[in-house]
Symmetry: C2
């Protein structure tokens, strides 16, 4: 270590909310990725922006790295303290600070999860739509520029954050915007911190845009004879500008896993899971138009989820794809990866990836937020067989290279973390160097989640 | 001058596309703002990214400022070469490079105007919605994070740009994204350059999102007994989540100017100008819901613009507000300014501003993109009477301070330029210093549109 951990100062600041126990460190040594766990040197639980600022100041004085932590649901090793240092578990900063129903915005602390927020909002008629599947912390979702099933309609985190409060690497606290809907006064620091994965500062407060709970919601599933026709149906639906709230691709392998895990009896064919939001007549009109397109592309009749319970069941099942996949191969671990391509290249990207997995020794269900051109595969591997891991990494590598070849990006929503850093030079060219210049300007000591996202000096 | 203009090198690069004539310099000495013209030392007309890069490299070697220029429609002195140097007129880089109808995106050069783009797109069924009124260049619109009448539905420039190509201060060329709809791979440089007003680099190519031309469009006007009830109607409409395509406030003074300039006979009362986009039934439903709200708030019946011609006439009139205002006071000049506040504070902001103007010696119609909480006033002043200018600047100052007091921003869409720079410390606090750090990192010589947006070292 080139630095010393300021144990005494942090303990005196935080008392029992600063731990160096093996248990606390182990609990913060991994996320949902396949990376080997790495123990931070200590874990701190701040309760206020002032405490985060004080911790960062102390750490900065000692050259000690600081790694923010939400719920640990990241998928590319974002929260692993690969250079040691102090992990800041933000889950005591989990309050909803202000609901401005009349302005359709809300101010939250970063440890608040998306489900907790929506529970708190229930009576207001408003909701926060971004849904990455996991019940992630909103700070973590901002830090990774998360999106998920509803992004096709409501956008990603970058479209749904009005302003942030951030503690910089020297402990200074800044606010990056106001509650006004738009502004042309200066560099867009809000968007700069969204997706910065803790490398430029620690998000301590978020002002989020809310949306009206739709008057009517309707969900349906439809199956197709093959992947190509399912994807063609998606492309045509999006091009027809039907304002889909969700349009999710679920391949045959994933359907088999769902049927086994959830005891459902879906036909073992590629599916689309759909949702429509709007007025009752608007929803009916959207569903009719989408239905006509799906039928023309060889899809089955819509099977509607008639009740709220059936609808919740459908999306719960979709969100449990990872667990369903895992259950098909007892003892396995999962390497999950995502890419995003222009929608005109989606069929190629999905078909080539499916063929590539089929030609490998591995099983890998594919699911995707296909309205955005974004899809995932969950590769199941035996943790004790190094050949499996190698095969999985090879597949993920070819998937990333394929996305770049097709004019896309190596991650639509999971982020860079440790797993995708090796592609950033290829994806961004000289723009990656510019990211490095910004990192250097804002964190000259390289203490904010070091080892992630940017090239190291 | 601390630098020398590399006349010979630039002339040898550009031939007759590099001019130092008084006429060329005078033509590029002003925008639509009230600022005293400032002559650049020379004007260059590049025709390619490679030429922009070469120009910037030559200028950088001589420490010579570079100021990008679109059509000169900026409103806060953005394009004035206040430190001298070379102005880059981008209007020879005005091509539409590629239309990807299947992906609903388009690649354009920065000198292409929004109207030229939409003319080119007419046959595709797609359009680019952002409409700041002026037929601005798309590069300029990106640089100022422009928005306008349709932002309430389609967002601002920040929501409608997928990627940029930018020439940095050392002549390096970067690309800030791909054609994928979303990405989580690294800092959002696209959004960093949007709104950077030429201070971080020169935009040489834009990849824009397109939208489907709405199947049905319907416009209407409605008048109200007073400003308060008009604004209340806006707030309620937005809170009811009616997806308004346009909802424009036009005050009594502006209506009087329209009636005089356009020979119309609108009742001399505050108005809302509305537009609905969607399917025929969707548009009818939206109009009905909005109508009910407006009536409940004291509005008149909708007077629909029945034909495409009538609709175009309505929006042309709205866009000509500046000229209509000018015509009411022969020989006057106009100081136009905008602010944006959370919509719950909009009534206060507008009413206080109206009262403030009424108590001044000046006339000033007010119009606004009120669905976003954004409004403008056009203050008419006698250029030969310094008291008028002083009164106008005082009013604009109080409007800015009022916006900040109400939790808003000193500009919703016009930008910083020279006019609003003095408010950035108050609006952004320490975040303004962070903007300065980024400027310093990307443009260490301070050659890219110097004197604008950031604090000077």
């Amino acid at each position: 270590m080139a630095w010393d951990i300021p144990f005494a100062e942090l303990r005196s600041l935080l008392g029992e909310r600063f731990l160096t126990t093996q248990a606390a460190r182990a609990e913060h040594s991994r996320d949902e990725s396949h990376f080997t766990p790495v123990l931070p040197d200590a874990v701190a639980w701040p309760e206020s922006t002032a405490e985060v600022s004080a911790i960062v100041k102390i750490c900065a004085a000692h050259g000690c790295p600081v790694v923010p932590w939400g719920v640990g649901s990241s998928l590319e090793g974002h929260v692993l303290a690969v250079k040691g240092g102090v992990t800041l578990n933000m889950n005591r900063m989990n309050r909803v600070l202000a609901v401005h129903a009349e302005d359709m915005d809300v101010v939250v602390q970063p440890g608040c999860t998306r489900e907790a927020l929506n529970t708190e909002l229930r009576a207001t008629g408003l909701f926060f739509p971004i849904d990455p599947g996991a019940n992630a912390s909103l700070g973590g979702m901002a830090a990774t520029r998360a999106s998920g099933t509803t992004a096709v309609r409501y956008g990603t985190m970058k479209d749904n954050i009005l302003a942030l409060e951030v503690v910089l690497s020297d402990g200074r606290v800044i606010r990056t915007g106001s509650r006004a809907k738009k502004s042309s006064t200066g560099y867009d620091l809000t968007r700069l911190f969204i997706g910065s994965e803790g490398t430029l500062g620690i998000i301590t407060e978020l002002t989020l845009k809310l949306h009206g709970q739709p008057e009517a919601v309707s969900s349906a599933v439809v199956d197709f004879p093959d992947i190509g026709s399912a994807i063609s149906a998606v492309i045509t639906t999006i091009q027809a500008a039907i304002p889909m709230a969700r349009i999710e691709f679920v391949d045959e392998t994933a359907i088999r896993a769902f049927n086994a895990y959830e005891k459902t009896t879906y036909p073992e064919r590629p599916h689309l899971f759909l949702e429509f939001h709007g007025s009752p007549s608007g929803v009916a009109e959207q569903a009719e138009l989408a239905g006509e397109i799906m039928t023309a592309m060889g899809g089955s009749d819509f099977r509607h989820a008639a009740t709220t319970e059936a609808r919740n069941q459908l999306w719960k099942m979709r969100h449990n794809a990872l667990f369903a996949a895992k259950s098909t191969k007892p003892g396995c671990i999962v390497l999950t990866t995502d890419v995003c391509v222009p929608i005109s290249r989606l069929a190629e990207a999905v078909l080539e990836t499916r063929a590539d997995i089929d030609a490998s020794p591995l099983t890998g269900p594919m699911v995707g937020h296909v309205g955005d051109g974004n899809f995932h595969c969950c590769l199941l591997l035996d943790p004790d067989d190094p050949r499996d891991k190698e095969a999985a990494l090879d597949l993920a590598h070819r998937m990333a290279e394929r996305a770049l070849r097709l004019g896309g990006t190596v991650s639509g929503e999971h982020g860079v973390g440790m797993g995708k850093k090796k592609y950033l030079e290829e994806e961004h060219g000289a723009a990656w160097e510019v990211m490095g210049l910004i990192k250097q300007a804002l964190d000259p000591q390289n203490l904010m989640n070091p080892g992630k996202l940017v090239k190291e000096g």
